[in-house]
Amino acid sequence: MVTRNNDVWVFIEQRGGKPADVSLELLSKGRKLAQQLNGRLKAIVIGFNAESIAKETFRYGASEVLLADHKELEHYRTMTYSRVLSELVDKYRPGVVLFGATITGRDLAPRIASFIKSGLTADCTDLQISDVKYLRNEYKNLLLQIRPAFGGNIIATIISPEVDVQMATVREGVMRLEPLEIPVNGKITLVPYQPSTLDSVIKIIEQHRQENKVNLKSAPIIVAGGYGLGTKENFKLVQELAATIGGEVAGSRAAVDAGFVTPDRQVGQTGVTVRPKLYIAIGISGAIQHRAGMQESNKIIAINSDPEAPIFGVAHYGIVGDAAQIIPTFINVFKQKLR
């Protein structure tokens, strides 16, 4: 049986000079995993002038940052980042390595897993530490990597029992952000960067990035509309309701595909995962892939003309009827009560 180091590593992605939310979410989760394993939580930061990013991780529980800081590392590039990280992981063999299941994470993590010949579980929505009995063997303190597959129709628990490095990518928004009152008094360890021939074969010619202006994830109230609204005109009712009650507008994929709402506001498996205090789903049937992105919401109101719609299965309050009538009533009553 393999012996495993108890440390948990989190790769820190960057967005506009800051750690990406998903990376901080992973630190928050990683801190608990490391506690259970009696190991340390380490953040891996690769970039240029990235010390402030490194320090930010202490607020989410990292006790050490491995920092590779070099001009050549300013922008994410597959070959450079994967080489630097592969060498680090290979050298220290941490028991758990986590990445956001973002475009970057899904580009980077598989190359590293391939390099160190280890298992990589994609797109996890939960992680746990547990003893496992698998094919008549008992394994201690394995990482249970829980993930949807088959287009979201099944939830699989994946383990990598026979390797020392268990790697996973984790979906954005599913782990809770839990900043500490008092940051850890951690240390930063510099990792020297030595250029290698394959590093710069791919050149970035142009880069266009708009930092997401809509921040659905941190909205306390979300009003989401679906295909059932029928027209873009009707969808305005959703926007009006959101404006009235102080919520953000969101939509199902069908609403996005129909052009009712922009893709950055799509909730679900291929959109954003949210857990607001209140989620109002209007004219949304409640397909598995939509529910995957909203069912953890604190309170859910479903408004649908079909009493059998699956969305009612995850709702706390259900209103059966025509959205075009219910929304204006809601707006009026709300205005009267909270004028």
């Binding site: 597959t78 070959m79 994967s82 973002t102 475009i103 899904r106 580009d107 598989p110 190359r111 897993a113 391939s114 010949k117 280890s118 298992g119 990589l120 994609a122 797109d123 496992v132 698998y134 949807p148 597959a149 088959f150 287009g151 979201g152 129709n153 099944i154 939830i155 699989a156 628990t157 994946i158 026979e162 074969v201 791919i202 050149k203 970035i204 010619i205 880069q207 266009h208 990035r209 708009q210 109230i221 205090k277 209140l278 604190n298 309170k299 479903a302 299965g313 995850v314 709702a315 706390h316 309050y317 259900g318 209103i319 059966v320 025509d322 219910i326 009533t329 809601f330 009560k337 909270l338």
Partner: protein
């Protein structure tokens, strides 16, 4: 002249209709219970390769690792315009995770020969991991561009590719060879050509020819294979014996990730409170949300 492309294609179960029975005890998939289809993004990947061929010449090979019946997708590739098809199939490859899959694929690619491009789908709709492309690139020691949206240009053995990144896009320049994974809307796959369908619907893999000899004792496999090859109807078939592989790195044995448990997603059957669709009903609902400090 021209560019040589290899396209990785996968036959996938149609994940639109899944039930618990589809999963076997050991967590692997009982694919025989599901209709098998051509992974859409792989079709898009093939189209991208064919467009390079249209514009610059060269040729396009497709390969799949899978059970014998995965030859169906290879025939579909031939209908679209692929020049050669390869089935990589062996019992010992079964149950592979992405690490073992990319190992066998990369060894098969080395055997097939040199190439300028490898195209793959971004992800397959069953495993949904998006890992096989990058892992194959790593094993071949070549760069990769994932989430490609468009080939901007190809010049002097350099390619410019537009790829999606978080909140935008990037244009990258890569030398060749490179592995590219494509997004579903990158290009629109061409329909099958009737002439090619007529010709290639009879294309057969080694296993399919063996089946013919089993059914008819007058046929000899070597002769049959030769006949199909000369008519360009032989689907190249690569098994364990054709590759120099480490058995320990193939199939279940070579797969570090294990499916420990599978649950089909079922509704929790949560009992929700029914609210009347009128002023009074909605009024009480709003009162409750005010009490909960969600409103107000």
């Amino acid at each position: 002249m021209g560019y040589k492309s290899i396209v990785l294609v996968k036959q996938v179960p149609d994940t639109a209709n899944i039930s618990g029975q589809v999963m076997k005890e050991d967590g692997t998939v009982n694919r025989s219970l599901l209709p098998a289809i051509f992974n859409h993004e792989d079709r898009v990947a093939l189209e991208m390769a064919l467009q390079i061929q249209d514009n610059h010449g060269g040729n396009v090979s497709v390969i799949t690792m899978g059970p014998p019946r995965a030859s169906d997708v290879l025939r579909e590739c031939l209908f679209m315009g692929a020049d050669d098809a390869y089935l990589i199939s062996d019992r010992k490859f079964a149950g592979a995770d992405t690490l073992a899959t990319s190992y066998v694929l990369s060894e098969a690619i080395k055997k097939i020969g040199s190439f300028d491009f490898i195209f793959a789908g971004r992800q397959a709709i069953d495993g949904d991991t998006a890992q096989v492309g990058p892992q194959t690139a790593e094993k071949l020691g070549i760069p990769q561009i994932t989430y490609a949206q468009e080939i901007v240009s190809i010049n002097n053995n350099k390619v410019l590719i537009k790829k999606k990144i978080e909140g935008g896009y990037e244009i990258l320049e890569s030398p060749l060879p490179v592995l590219v994974t494509v997004l579903k809307d990158a290009v629109f796959p061409r329909p099958y050509k009737a002439k090619r369908v007529m010709a290639y619907k009879n294309a057969k893999t080694l296993m399919e020819l063996e089946k013919l000899t089993e059914d008819n004792s007058l046929l000899y496999i070597d002769q049959l294979k030769y006949e199909y090859m000369s008519k360009h109807l032989y689907i190249n078939t690569i098994t364990m014996d054709d590759l120099k592989l480490d058995v320990e790195r193939c199939g279940v044995a070579g797969s570090p990730t294990k499916v420990h448990k599978i649950e089909s997603v079922v509704l929790t059957g949560n009992k929700h409170e029914h609210i009347e669709p009128n002023k009074i009903g909605i009024g009480t609902l709003i009162d409750k949300l005010m009490e909960d400090h969600i409103f107000g």
